[in-house]
Symmetry: C3
Subunit: 395 residues, 3 copies
């Protein structure tokens, strides 16, 4: 049987599918599962008006993709484990309602509630004034907003592919342009794929500089985990050379920086900048293990693509968004100017395309958790426990 490709959205060709469903009743048989489906609908009402949601369900793992929000992932579930978190912003927000400049460049936070939210492409990190060379060759101030724009730009092309080869693979590809005259002209082409019946998904992103001049790129994958994986006694585990607490508040935790406490009203966030170790093929990994130690979620990423890893611990009350984020990135989420000086801002040549690959696996048994822990320990050999540096910021 051959591949099937369905175009859901293509602005140039006038295609936009409001309602869509494809499953085994179509006659397509996938060896990995009969219970697979791909479905799409558009949210209506409130701040969600017009937000497209595409659900990729491989029969075991289901994930909701948001083309309208830069191909972010809204939620996922696998083996009875819900992935994502409960942001104070309850539902997906159409970028048309998001003013990124709001509250001094923090408007991003009025739409931030995804399981996976990309931060970039021209910049990520806190709001602030960058200094750039403009089209007249002058050095000018360019105000940047929190975590950039890409999560608030709708994909203009979205397609779904079913490939029956092997276990059978379901994938979705979206194309998102972050472009303006005299500014960045970057294109994200993102493909999420998952094998039928598996507990794993893969994301392959390609970012192209479509402009005629070199262009800066910052890209960070903000993978956000709330309960049930997060909770008092949950742990973050990764093979690390070094841990750099962002500030004295983060440093307070000492060697227990990677253990989570119960949600606490008014708790201030902690951020750790991490130096990941990789295997001989260049792959590193990181895992969140639940309080019982029997379930978890792990990410694999390549340190030649995403060399910097950040851990965000937001230990606030559940009502305020109790969440932790594992953030592989091209940089740490400091101000762009700071990261540029540190040599952590990618520069793409005209026409250059950079690839970023990440895998997410959900572990529903203590066996799987143990195996992954062992693999991480092997990677970390000689670096256990990782060195903890003084905080980056004196506070």
């Amino acid at each position: 049987m051959s591949r099937r490709i369905d175009v859901l959205t293509d602005v140039s060709r006038g295609v936009r599918t409001a309602e869509y469903r494809l499953d085994a009743t179509s006659g397509i048989r996938l060896a990995g599962s009969d219970a697979w489906s791909v479905s799409a609908n558009t949210l209506r009402g409130g701040l969600s008006e017009g937000v497209d949601v595409v659900r990729i369900d491989n029969g075991r793992l289901a994930v909701d993709v948001l083309p309208t929000r830069g191909m972010g992932l809204w939620k996922a579930a696998c083996d009875g484990i819900d992935l994502g978190w409960k942001s104070p912003v309850a539902l997906p927000v159409n970028p048309a309602f998001v003013n990124l400049g709001d509250r001094g460049g923090l408007g991003f936070l009025s739409g931030f509630n995804e399981f996976l939210c990309r931060c970039g492409l021209d910049s990520n990190g806190p709001p602030g004034v960058d200094v750039i060379t403009n089209n007249l060759g002058h050095r000018v101030e360019a105000p940047l907003t929190l975590h950039g724009k890409i999560a608030n730009i709708p994909a203009h092309a979205v397609s779904v592919e079913i490939d029956p080869a092997g276990a059978g693979t379901l994938s979705i590809t979206g194309v998102v342009d972050e472009a303006m005259l005299f500014g960045p002209n970057l294109r994200l082409r993102s493909t999420l794929s998952t094998e039928a019946g598996s507990n794993r998904l893969a994301i392959v992103d390609e970012v192209a500089n479509r402009g005629g001049n070199p262009a800066e790129l910052q890209l960070l994958y903000h993978w956000n985990f709330g309960p049930p994986l997060l909770g008092e006694g949950a742990r973050f585990v990764a093979p690390l050379r070094r841990v750099i607490p962002r500030d004295p508040r983060a440093a307070e935790a000492g060697e227990r920086w990677n253990e989570y406490t119960a949600p606490t009203a008014g708790a201030t966030e902690q951020v750790y900048f991490l130096e990941p170790l990789a295997d001989a093929d260049g792959w590193s990994s990181a895992m969140l293990v639940d309080p019982a130690g029997t379930r978890g979620a792990s990410l694999r990423f390549r340190i030649d693509e995403l060399p910097h890893l950040t851990l965000w611990v937001n230990g606030q009350a559940e009502a305020d968004g109790y969440v932790t984020a594992i953030e592989p990135g091209t940089n740490y989420p400091n101000s762009k100017g700071f990261e540029r000086v540190q040599g952590r801002v990618v520069v793409l040549a005209p026409g250059e395309v950079r690839r970023f690959e990440t895998e997410l696996t959900i572990h529903a048994t203590d066996d799987e958790v143990r195996t992954t822990l062992e693999a991480i320990a092997t990677l970390a050999a000689g670096h256990l426990p990782p060195k903890i540096s003084p905080p980056l910021i004196e506070g």
Copy 2:
């Protein structure tokens, strides 16, 4: 006969009704009137694209509710009297087209044309920089925009209820969230109801702090009246302890502060901060009486909920929005920082819900006007005329 509830919008459940009509042909009989109806449609085109309008018509009083604009009231009419005003902004504006930060935080004015517009929830008053404690515990600047956000947030849940008990009651309930991570997490649940055949409507709003920390709340009801009730010789009447002109310009009117002049091109606005008196049950009231003294509209509100009353007189040319506003609020519409120092910013505990009740009555006969004037005079007994203080601002 039992109540009938129709859900018009519920994002979570995928409900959004584009066109809706319910009236006596449904078989529901209301004792107060046979001519009642509830209808809904969505405006299409221009800046109004996607704005839902729900008309509640009790057979005598009809009001257009705007779920897309935070459950504001677009217009109303009763006994041949049109309520509302002619803003330079002619039609309802979808918040997607409103940039609140525009022109130094005055973007609100590019969508402001409602009969009733709520100002809040985290803040109201003029644009300016507030100083708050952020999620890192730092004191930081937070730019606020004119009159806050709630009027530019669409309701994510809207339902209509018909209760045949008594005269029969028509109501609409909408839920609007003003929320962001590390920011306010406030929910407005607003119910507007009116009895079949009556000249009255009631609004019951509940505002909940859904966050895990105490949250500030500012809420002001901006009831806007243009012609025919407003005009040269019209009067504002209310039981007051004190009148505080905002500035020397407002103070110029002296004891005739509550009498309206004809629209005048270039006239600057006047604002009066008022201290309302209430009856033994806590209810105060305020009325606008038309130039002939034979028609009017009055508001009733509770001073334990809305202790501060503001009168706005915008005596400009009709083309520029000749209008007066009666504004019961939790505070006066000064800068939030100023109001905070005066103790006029509400603080809600985590989970706390605060209730706000307001009634509007349209008076189409001089009898009704006289009766209301007498009731107000009774309330004001011992305070007539109210003391006029020096202007708040020296100018």
Copy 3:
């Protein structure tokens, strides 16, 4: 046969036509061509979601009008010549996604890709802080964004007219309001018309001050030309009294200021402020001639309406938006404050309507090009070559 008028959009009357087509199969016969048509559709997906496109095709010249973007022209084509340019922003952008305040007031550039884009109405020119008198009579700062708002406001009324008289005329009229309380209250009523079978279109715009006070107006027509008319060796020709390079960079070209070079990555823009000469009836003209000298496009405009002409040369790589713009305007696109001091800001009395008329002709043969060049040379007699002044800005 009588005129046919079809209303495509009228918010007040609840009219919005999603799909529309009218052509000779309707029975309407136009002497100039049988191949004429008018069609409308709405783009779906990405940043183009909800953008209406109306195509007016006279059988020879076709133009795509964007009511959603202030009646701008997306693209045109005539006699096999494509008009418009390739902006880094590939597709028409719904203003709901444009934050004009972004990047220090440059957000306009994230939606800028039209063949014709109007800049105005309250202001055009670079972002910056203007000082105005507000509704309280105070002198306050008003931040202005690049090229104003009108290109990012959807028309609330759009209609199409077919007039069989003569060769037959196709036209579209749109009404766009740029209005806010205490701010500008300007209405653009724009009609584009073209005769069946012709190589010409005409735009007649009327701008009304709907407010009760005098109102400022700035209007500039940003006609943008990329390849094939633009290219190395292409020339700009116009009857001019004087040429004022904006800055030393622009002055570098000397007497060859009007000759185009090949696209060059990193080239900085050049801007020339021009003083156009007119014929006895008040009409001036300007032409872009292609590299071969055999094809071109010319504009005619009235110097009593649009006395100032600007030439923008953006010689960047094609990927970065290689383009030149011919910009007849009420002013030069400097800061509004500067233009005001120079007496180049129009002031409209209350109720005043100002008319602006422009004609575009496409020249597909060297004969036509030659004839137009001769007409321009006649107009320029006694001023050839035009005086080149020192640059306006010392740099």
